[in-house]
């Protein structure tokens, strides 16, 4: 059993640093191996989870009591029609379930988008401009200017000359400044991911040793293949 655990850790470390090896700028077999292992397991996993969902939440109630589950039964039929996509002759059958699911999808995004993304956002931008402390006044005015100028920036069917053009220019600057804030926030998130990953790779000590060995193997291996055996390297790459 210990050997299995050990093998699992070696593989996990190899996959991690195999994927990181793309940062060397050299396409290498470690990366190819890691990537294909990841893709294969991801597809298999998703398939299993989906089938389990269908079994427990859809098929089980229908089999238990078919009469009161007519509508779910129809959904299963529609789902099965989806499978005709793999044939070129009967692919048109799949258009029916596709139509249903796109219509439901478009319907849901539209009906909620209008409330949560338009009305609620506009309501939140309606702010009192005076009669409050100076700081809030300035902030409120700034927010309204930011929103209005950027909305004007996204005008495509009116000519952007005169004052409107100026406003739209301001809108562009606001957008760029805003991108700065969003870039920094996204950066923060990516650091979180990376730190979490490295933390897993550095603790406990046995893992740390393994990590250092794997890093050395991947870097040296890529270097030697690249310098000494370019033909072999080329043969080991996909595509």
């Amino acid at each position: 059993m210990d050997i299995v655990l050990f093998l699992g850790t070696v593989l996990a470390t190899l996959i991690t640093f195999g994927l990181f090896s793309i940062l060397t700028g050299v396409d290498n077999p470690f990366y190819a191996f890691a990537e294909h292992s990841y893709v294969g397991t991801a597809i298999g996993f998703l398939a299993v989870i989906t089938v389990v969902y269908l079994q427990t939440k859809v098929f089980a109630p229908i089999i238990a009591d078919p009469m009161s589950n007519i509508l779910p039964l129809i959904s299963v039929i529609l789902g099965l029609m989806m499978l005709t996509r793999v044939s070129s002759k009967y692919a048109w059958i799949a258009r029916i379930p596709i139509t249903v699911s796109i219509a439901v999808g478009v319907g849901i995004t539209t009906r909620t988008g209008v409330i949560t993304n338009i009305i609620a956002q506009i309501k939140a931008t309606i702010l009192p401009l005076w009669g409050i402390d100076w700081f809030t006044t300035l902030t409120n005015i700034a927010v309204i200017i930011f929103v209005v100028t950027t909305l004007i920036f996204f005008q495509y069917t009116t000519r952007r000359t005169g004052p409107l053009g100026k406003v739209s220019q301001v809108g562009r600057l606001v957008l760029y400044a805003g991108f700065g804030a969003l870039f920094a926030q996204t950066f923060m998130g990516r650091i979180g991911l990376f730190l979490g990953r490295m933390e897993t790779m550095l603790f406990p000590d046995t893992q740390l040793q393994m990590t250092l060995i794997v890093i050395a193997v991947v870097l040296l291996g890529t270097y030697i293949l690249r310098r000494r055996y370019p033909d072999l390297l080329n043969r080991l790459l996909p595509q």
């Binding site: 996959i15 998703l46 859809v58 779910p72 909305l151 991108f179």
Partner: protein, 216 residues
């Protein structure tokens, strides 16, 4: 029968009926059967999506088989992918998700892969920022200054040097960043409604795979 089901008109009517059943109960109080129809339709979409995923497994398998069959360069990786996909499916479905082999593949390949591949983007963000953030013109200078200020707010260490970084960065996040996200939310939602109109009017049947010259 198959001609009716194949026609664009049938699909269009289907799309219109479904969309109405989605909109009306949300905005207006309706009798119970219509509510039921709504909630069932919502589940339809979920179940259809599950079957679509199975089609994805088929396509992936077929792609690898073709690659192996033609002995394309790197076909050996195709064999490896196929083994992983089907060992996982068979182990997971026949023996269950708690089987050691399933757990082994999941913990040693899938989870580390998923966790790593997204964190690689960090490095490209660093290289892009180091390369492109220059005090070149008004726009890029503003971008650079805001980036630095917000970075200083996020780093716990900066607050020790000067506690003014936190309120400045917070203001930029909560009002500047928020304002442009807000504009985007509004504009995107508008785009969504308009797409719904185009779909309802039968102008976007390409969405469901109907080509322009086909059907009436």
């Amino acid at each position: 029968m198959s001609n009716v089901l194949k026609s664009k008109t049938f699909l269009l009517i289907l799309a219109i009926v479904v969309q109405f059943l989605i909109y009306i109960p949300y905005f207006v109080d309706v009798p119970a059967p219509m509510k039921t129809a709504e909630s069932e339709l919502l589940r339809f979409a979920v179940n259809i999506a599950s079957f679509a995923m199975l089609v994805g497994v088929y396509t992936a398998t077929r792609k690898e088989i073709i690659r192996i069959g033609k002995r394309q360069k790197g076909w050996i990786y195709g064999v490896w992918v196929l083994i992983l996909i089907w060992v996982m499916i068979i182990a997971g479905l026949v023996l269950g998700q708690t089987t050691p082999i399933f757990k082994f593949l999941q913990d040693s390949m899938l989870l580390p892969g998923d966790a790593t591949i997204y964190s690689i983007v960090l490095f490209y963000m660093i290289s892009a920022a180091g390369r492109a953030f220059r005090l070149r013109d008004t726009g890029s200078s503003l971008l650079l200054i805001v980036v630095v200020l917000v970075l200083l707010q996020q780093a716990p260490i900066a607050a020790i040097v000067w506690d003014g970084f936190v309120p400045i960065g917070n203001w930029l996040n909560n009002y500047l960043g928020m304002s442009i996200s807000r504009t985007f939310a509004i504009v995107t939602a508008l785009g969504g409604i308009i797409l719904a109109v185009r779909f309802l009017s039968g102008k976007e049947m390409g969405m469901v795979g109907v080509k322009k010259e086909e059907g009436k």
